[in-house]
Amino acid sequence: MAVRKMGSPSQFASLTVIELRLTLRAKAWRILTWMCALVTAAIYGLMALKTPYALSMQALAGFSVRMALEGVLLLVSPLLVCACALREKQAGMEEIVLSKPPSSPTLVWSRFAAFYLAAMLTALLCGAAVWLVQIVFFRPDLSAAPALRGALSMAMPLLFVCGFSLSAALYTRSPLAGGLITGIVLGIRGGGDSLAHAARLTLTPYHPAYGVLGLAFVALAAGVWKANRDRGRIAGPWVIVASIAVCVSLLMMRSTTSQWYSLSSEYRSASDAITASKSLLKDVRSLVTVSGRRTTKDPRTGVATLFAFYSSASPQGATEVATLQRACRDAVGTLILFVPVYVGEDPGIGEGLARDAEIQGDVISNPPPDSDEIAGLAKRFAVDRHLVGASAGILWPDGAIAFAAQILALPETVTGRPPRTGWNKALYSQGLIAFKEVAKRGQALADAGRIAP
């Protein structure tokens, strides 16, 4: 009799590889992959057409990949996962597989792992497609990291979508369950404004919570399948695992809610609430960053503070902020407190844009316009709600505010294609001069303030 290692990690890994191979060989999956890659590359190309004045194109790569994958992969993958989840039924192999010894959890988890890996491979291929467009059309921007990061940002949403789809398919025994899940994802995207934040799986702060929830669905499906196959009660350990995962997920959602968003039904972020107090601008540390922490910026008195705003509506602004930040650092060091601010609903996108554009340090999270009215810090600095590129405003040491102005004065007609490396250099040079002036004036105001407090 053969030596058998049931449910061992090696059996699980080998089954995952075979399931992955089968999934990738499926025609529908291949079509989806190529379609996603084409759409992603096209969106990136369109972004270049829409923003011919972008200083850097690699900084937009991750954003493009993420938007495209949210729009296509998250919608189509439930259909494919549900179809592939029942592949042995469709092929007429169900009884053969079910009469074999592996436990139901081994079968379910290996299948889930395969679908998830296949979806992630699709995402990475899309990232590669964008990078290819970038190195062919937008030299000298060569870095692949932004596109790769954009693809990897799908890791958690895909964990949820794949887990939810697989469990729905196994439970309903119908590939049509995929249509239902696609409808739900579509509804969440379309009706986002009227949904509670915690119900939006595409909102970055909730990604880990939804990822864990996806795993909970798989654990539950494994338990239910085992019970059906072995004619027993629902497998206890897997129900416990699923319950714990659901609890962890809910706790994460709860903690995210208090970290970024208030519990009020109206949209108000934590930073927005703080903005309402007059003391806000004297204590930069009370602001929330895009990564969900309080800012670590030193609220030194006696220096001017420059707030540079960018948004997801015109993501190329992040590069302008990064260039200004570099100029500020090189020109005056710490004589000016440079504070990048992201204006947008999803702080994760702001964080991604900052990383891709190479903005250093903390970025403050500012909520998007609410009912066409700008909110938070942006409101204090009268930032245009249709933020084009980046804007900057100054808080002088005496408490006076210089309202925000657009950083780049754009010409009426622009020829050629981005990236505008020449403009970038010019912005940096002018920044060096301007920051020296700002630092000097800030120092003067501070000195005056000390004499007459």
Partner: protein, 299 residues
């Protein structure tokens, strides 16, 4: 006890449809032919033994393992080929067997060796690297049998493995089953009597969910001894004759129309001109035991 043992197995489906009624049998090594018309309970019995279906009452054991209670262990010593099955068309034969080997938890080297042996044993080593979608029906059937025996199971269940195959392929599959049965139990379910007569060591006859007979093929054939007649019949009275007795074959000869009749005494039957008692074949016995005239057409 090694082998299979079934005690008072009953399966009642929804709507009070009886799939099996109080079936009791036991068998050790070799091929057990499960014979019976469609709907006689063959597949129900096999699915219960393959842990895919629950019996309403009664118990079954495979090598002392209770089929209902020790499902996981039973699956380890079981190879199953259902009546209607498909295989992943995009896989090659070798990949498919590799997948099955993994399901059985075979380790790397052992799995490779088992695959090569199986490919050879089921005579598909020449198409081992071809995609399954390019194989003929017979090759797929042999691959199906291959997956059932890959791990060297103690019990192999094959449900109607020769249906839809051409005669040459059918003989090949039958021989393969005989070869496989040398050191294990093979349950061969079929409604084709020829398959059982050439491959089975023992026959279990199922009729409407009940066990109608269990014994060797020779014993089954002997059940009809003295009741099989070769008779010359009047063509005009053939239809009437069909309603009065079982007919296992009709042929034309120089002397006229000849029929193979199953009857205690053919002389009192309408249209029988002349009758000689002949040695029964398995098919005759099968029809005799079933005692249902509609079966004649099936056979």
């Amino acid at each position: 006890m090694l082998g299979i043992r079934v005690e008072s197995l009953t399966k009642v489906y929804d709507g009070d449809v009886r799939g099996l009624s109080d079936v009791t049998l036991s068998f050790e090594t070799g091929v057990l032919g499960l014979l019976g018309p469609n709907g006689s309970g063959k597949t129900t019995l096999m699915r219960i033994l393959a842990t895919l279906l629950d019996a309403t009452s009664g118990r079954a054991w495979l090598d002392d393992l209770d089929v209902a209670a020790d499902r996981a262990q039973v699956r380890r010593i079981l190879g199953y080929l259902p009546q209607e099955f498909g295989l992943y068309p995009e896989m090659t034969c070798r990949e498919f067997l590799d997948y099955i080997g993994l399901l059985y938890g075979l380790g790397g080297a052992e799995r490779r060796r088992a695959i090569e042996e199986t490919l050879h044993n089921v005579h598909i080593d020449d198409v081992a690297d071809r995609r399954i979608k390019t194989l003929s029906g017979g090759m797929k059937q042999r691959l199906g049998i291959g997956q059932a025996v890959l791990s060297g199971p103690r019990l192999v269940i094959v449900d109607e493995p020769t249906v839809g195959l051409d005669p040459e392929e059918r003989i090949r599959v039958r021989n393969l089953i005989t070869e496989l049965a040398q050191n294990r139990v093979v349950i061969l379910s079929t409604h084709i009597v020829g398959d059982v007569s050439s491959a089975a060591h023992c026959v279990a006859l199922l009729r409407k969910g009940e066990l109608a007979f269990m014994g060797t093929p020779a014993e089954l054939a002997a059940e009809a001894r003295g009741k099989v007649w070769r008779a010359r019949v009047e063509p005009a009275k053939l239809n009437e004759l069909k309603t009065r007795c079982l007919i296992s074959g009709i042929s034309h000869s120089e002397a006229g129309l000849e029929a193979r009749l199953l009857a205690d005494d053919p002389s009192c039957l309408p249209g029988v001109l002349e009758a000689h008692n002949v040695e029964p074949e398995l098919e005759d016995a099968y029809i005799w035991k079933m005692g249902d005239r509609t079966l004649v057409e099936t056979v």
